[in-house]
Symmetry: D2
Subunit: 328 residues, 4 copies
């Protein structure tokens, strides 16, 4: 156990995701378990620079394991991207005698941590927490599973009205540049077509597929569209194109939006967050730095932050094939 | 009991709403209870003209009380608006020996029923079923309560991310020309401001209110906007205006959309639908026609369809006052 | 407006119910709106005697409108039932310059308030909050609607497994001595039989009904049993009796238990709590005491606490009739 | 592709689990994709013997991906355990020209399939579907993830009332002889203690742990108890023991029961079921038999049914350690 680490700071940064609170709780409780002090840092890197720290003991995180959002709040910080900003941040941490950081968030968060470590040799461990699941080095980011359940629950509701009226719905879901949410939620919700940035189906083949679907006896259809998809400029233009070229359907659009980021985390995300928080603190106590904890082959493993940022989270080709078979 | 009625047709029409299936089930089971035949008519008035009828016995509606959408499907029919179309419809009903209709839907549905009755002296009873709650003669339409729960559940999720990031969200909800959903869900979700068509707050006072809210210590805000509200041309313009005139907040928009029409109905809507279905059939059996069944002072009462269509469903002024006090 | 009331205490007592927090929030915000001080009293009458008070301003209740349970906690107090205990309580309130009480709970709570008012002429207003809906003077207590949704959601799940296996389930629900939850949730969940204390069906007729249900083609059955029902000594004995006398079904029991008291309140309960909290404070400010606020004919009205306690909350006979028709 | 297989039968057997319908749908759609006929077999092995078969095409499984229970129903069959019963079953399959079976269920189901294959050289592939997750050869059975979400949702509700009243709750969850549900849901719900059959804590240490928990400042507690746990004879005796030896808490019991088997499947379970159904059919078409499809290291892999039955699904020791740290 590293003698040098007596106080750990924990923060959340970037877009919030369900399970952030469960991860914070796990970091805090693991510190308590090892008799390490823990301070909560408010509003991410912004809060480091402002010294917005509060001591957190085991009881301070009670009742948050099932809450969406983040009790430590999140923010994006321009100033931290400058050397001056980071110097201020380092001074604040030194003043508060914080010896190491656990940063909870996505690749922007990890990049900030990595730069900070390089400049000040400050120990940093990352916990991947974003609904987009776009991080290399973990099969699941915290929040992804909950977002999938939120999305299928919404599409189930939309399906009720689609099938009552024989309508075609384009449902836009989040996911930044990757199609993980769209592909998984699309298969889960039984979507007739799934449009993801990794596969440019093309407008002609989309039309063809919708026609085939209609002929096969389907009276209503759901097309799940990843926000990063490039087939149309946006989902509304896609609707216009299909309406102009296909009169069998009454076409509607639904953009699910920010509700995908909120809500009480699923059991999977709570358990994952609990496991990752323990590993993050224990990795710091072993004297290591610059790692992300991740789920690989059902175990919590370490990946260097540099790889986590540079590596690409790839779509599951096999699941893509399953999705095609399911729409037979 | 009316000797003349031996077979009742039941149909759903207009926008679907949670509880339509519970209402269908109630009509079918009540017919079975009184040994009256019942036929389900598919796709509303369109289906009458096409003779798309199927006999329904008590067992045929099992397992649907908790399902969203409508097993009888819904549609809008242009042809039924013509005398020729209605003549065809009447012939189909006569051929099938259907003696009376229970029509489930909103004011468009009731108007169709009323015209049909006038021309052919055909017994018609209406059951109010729409999420908008915009029908005179009932304090609650079937589907309204479920839609409110869906909306507050979504806003609770949006609140998680709004408060994590200190953001201002404009959340657009359904409701056609009235603000019932916005007002009730706004109070239920603890919205900082509620914009409804019945009250034009004006852009200046909206800004003022948001500033006051910020000064009072609120770090994030939810503004619920009824789709029929006229303060901005639409919710995205509203966002632009506020962003241009207020830099304290990062502003986002979420349009909840059609998911508000779907989902498993709440217990309230299932019970209401069960009660209304019984009353609808019993009213026909008493030899009456042209009434809507409605909930008034906790009892199921009759209102003439003409009044139900012409009358106005007014916003609850007292609740508006409560909403202002809640945002103190 | 009463000049005498400058500080109001608010407390929750008895069994907790979803919406208690929304009611607390409404009382606190209404006080703030009228520039009246408000103190939260922890653990009901017990907390009065211990002087466990904390000042509550408008911001102190943020983020609780959608939370189950009660942030002020609840408890039962033996000592408050003695004159000595109440004397101590009165001294504590006087010391803290609390001028009036809003008590949130059921009839036990109201009785405590009434006795306290009688002895010390201390202004008291009650807000009915219990899942059982067993209070005279209001068609709905806060928490009842949420509990109904929780129960139908559970029974929907049990129905999945019942119908997969052709089983008969006895599902015991809460409700103390009345059958409101059982009757409403039973109709909502499409139960084949509903056993409530107000109607002793008798074991013979229950068996007969189950046989008839089986003959009519139902392969599985749900019987909802109110905890206060007297047909069997308890639900497990009921199961044994039916198993001994009917071999068509594989019989199971599910006692839903305390989860019925928890969970995020429905929109209906949040709105009701908001309306009642406003009326409670305004009634005190008008110089009145010893009233309960209640929902009667869709309006918030006053009923004397004495009547609220003595009066009986009766089962809806018409709904009982609807439930019989639904099981045709 | 095996020339011999032209028609596949699919059935569900044993205790039902959420996702069974998604698995059926996947098998049916995959058959359609490969132009193989598919017949649904009702009520498991019982239905084979009775020849209760219905042809299923791609459209016949629409709208079931999100439904709990099993549209094919499930049953336990005594007769199939006899050579005579299996002979009848084989005759029925031959008569209906069914060439292979996909059996969806748990180890009892797999054992039946294995014996049947041995006697008649009939191709059989198994899909693991049970909430208990007690099958060797897959990290997740279909239904496990949904059951975890149902359980944590229930415990979240119980927590509301526990913390309002400073109570200790024993919550009994399913899981047969293993503690997977208890351990995962216990960590997810933030339980203070988790009692599983794999670890006999002993009554003394349980008391000690509860005392320590109380001293550390916790005012309420949730103890999750696996149904297979042996520490007390049952959960009610556990309650009695703790009440007799600890007067700090008001103790209650909640047995969650059969609702754990129902409900709409989570996205995870729907996706898993879709993937497994494809693999099951493709494995048969490759001419293989007697395998179970399972999730291993995020891929769908084959395990011989014999191993799946004999092997032991072990508790995650690392998660047990995490659970201890979380209750610090």
């Amino acid at each position: 156990m590293s003698k040098n680490i007596k106080k750990i700071g924990v923060m959340t940064s970037g877009g919030d995701a369900p399970g952030m609170n469960a991860a914070i709780r796990s970091v805090v409780r693991t510190c308590a378990y090892y008799n390490i002090e823990c301070v909560g840092i408010y509003r991410g890197f912004e809060g480091i620079m402002e010294g917005d720290f509060r001591p957190m003991d085991a009881r301070s995180v009670k009742g948050i394991v099932n809450k969406g959002g983040t009790v430590l709040k999140s923010a994006r910080s321009k100033e931290f991207r400058t050397p001056e900003g980071r110097k201020i941040a380092h001074d604040q941490l030194k003043n508060a005698q914080v010896d190491a950081l656990v940063v909870i968030g996505g690749d922007g968060t990890f990049n900030g941590g990595l730069v900070f470590n390089k400049e000040f040799d400050f120990p940093v461990i990352g916990i991947p927490c974003t609904i987009d699941n776009d991080i290399f080095g973990t099969t699941h980011t915290i929040g992804f599973d909950t977002a999938l359940n939120t999305v299928v629950d919404c599409i189930d509701k939309i399906r009720d009205t689609a099938s009552s009226h024989n309508r075609l719905f384009f449902v836009e879901v989040m996911g930044r540049d990757v199609g993980h949410i769209a592909l998984n939620a699309g298969v889960g919700a039984g979507a007739e077509e799934i449009l993801i940035p990794e596969e440019n189906l093309g407008l002609d083949r989309l039309l063809e597929s919708l026609h085939r679907s209609k002929r096969s006896g389907k009276s209503s259809s759901i097309v799940v569209v990843a926000e990063g998809d490039k087939i149309g400029k946006n989902v509304f233009e896609l609707k216009d194109y299909v309406e102009a070229n296909m009169d069998e359907y009454d076409v509607r659009v639904s953009v699910l939006g920010h509700m995908q980021r909120g809500g009480s985390p699923s059991c999977f995300d709570r358990v994952l967050a609990s496991r990752m928080g323990v590993k993050a603190v224990e990795t710091l106590l072993e004297g290591k730095t610059n790692y992300m904890v991740g789920l690989l082959n059902e175990k919590i493993e370490l990946t260097h932050l540099r790889e986590a940022i540079k590596g690409q989270s790839k779509i599951d080709r096999e699941l893509l094939r399953v999705s095609e078979i399911m729409t037979t």
